[in-house]
Symmetry: C5
Subunit: 99 residues, 5 copies
Amino acid sequence: MNLAKVLGTVVSTRKEESIRGLKFLLLAQVDPQRKPTGTHVVAADAVGAGVGEMVLYATGSSARQTTLTDNRPCDAVIMAIVDSWEVEGRDLYKKGRDD
Amino acid sequence: MNLAKVLGTVVSTRKEESIRGLKFLLLAQVDPQRKPTGTHVVAADAVGAGVGEMVLYATGSSARQTTLTDNRPCDAVIMAIVDSWEVEGRDLYKKGRDD
Amino acid sequence: MNLAKVLGTVVSTRKEESIRGLKFLLLAQVDPQRKPTGTHVVAADAVGAGVGEMVLYATGSSARQTTLTDNRPCDAVIMAIVDSWEVEGRDLYKKGRDD
Amino acid sequence: MNLAKVLGTVVSTRKEESIRGLKFLLLAQVDPQRKPTGTHVVAADAVGAGVGEMVLYATGSSARQTTLTDNRPCDAVIMAIVDSWEVEGRDLYKKGRDD
Amino acid sequence: MNLAKVLGTVVSTRKEESIRGLKFLLLAQVDPQRKPTGTHVVAADAVGAGVGEMVLYATGSSARQTTLTDNRPCDAVIMAIVDSWEVEGRDLYKKGRDD
């Protein structure tokens, strides 16, 4: 999994039949210091994440291990909204404090 | 998934039997500002995308989760044509306006 | 698999139902000389690793081949705590000596 | 999939039992302008490609979706020999003309 | 698959139950000129490779397609010891001559 910040939404009307109903969010991967790594990903949202929130996303076949994404051509999924992470005892991110 | 612009088509007559009938498009991955990231991918087209359109493509085993690509040696598929994406309330891409 | 150092923990309360109970650790990938490569990963912990320890982690569908991660949207798992590695007869890392 | 040029062959006598009979070719990935990207891959050949030809190769589990590679520890396969590709109406590669 | 040189071994006593018995080797990926690319991988050894040998390794789910690695959380496997590779008719590596 990787840490990322939710940047916004991607809208599409012409799409593969099986992905109808999925919500796609645009993510910017971040490092432990919350700096963007330069990698962007579009992920299906399995947890109701909002713009600006820090999330964990999984890629590859693991992204299909949710009821939402099962058997769909979806290779990235947000599977958690992050409350905080700490490195060697210090909180480098705390939801609310660092948004 | 990643955002990409359709650059053109790839033609092949000598190919693995199982991929006959698939249409392969050449894609240039783009970042949220629509700038090419330098990554190119050849993807099977599951949605009838045209040259110049912005699309979403999935890779890996997820690229085989369409009736078109099921059980085929295909590791990238276009699964949506993008209408727009927005970042923090601003449309960074709008089909028609930004093509 | 890759070598990595455990940096800390990631906490999340709103998450995909199926990953409840998994512990997520933040890892910094290292090269054979123990220098960070700049790549970070969040991995489920299958072995009880602690902050500061050197570990081996697996990614992709292989990360789901543990009872802990089976059928879960989890794409990285710590599957071993490393005691030592040697390159051409020299120990480049030895647990205890180099922590 | 990616575009690549076939550079040559890789020979091995001591190998995993299940890959006996597979022919392995050394590939240099190219961009749409036919410039090497710096990425090299060794792929099983499912189509009888020759040195100097431009090919399409698939990676990951998709590389096992051929009768040749099914159930084998093989993560890259050449699944097509490329005749041409065009970008915005111009042929950037044409077999015969550009070899 | 990729070409790599075997650098050494990784030792671990606390590990996921299912990987007991696997031998893990530390690899440095090389390009066709035998120069290290900077990428390192830890792979299970399915062929009895030794330090200093050039090998082919497979990653992802393909790394589990050996009796040794089947159903194990292992994402890289050495599936061949390389005798030689040639590029456009010239041997760029020959076991014995270039070790």
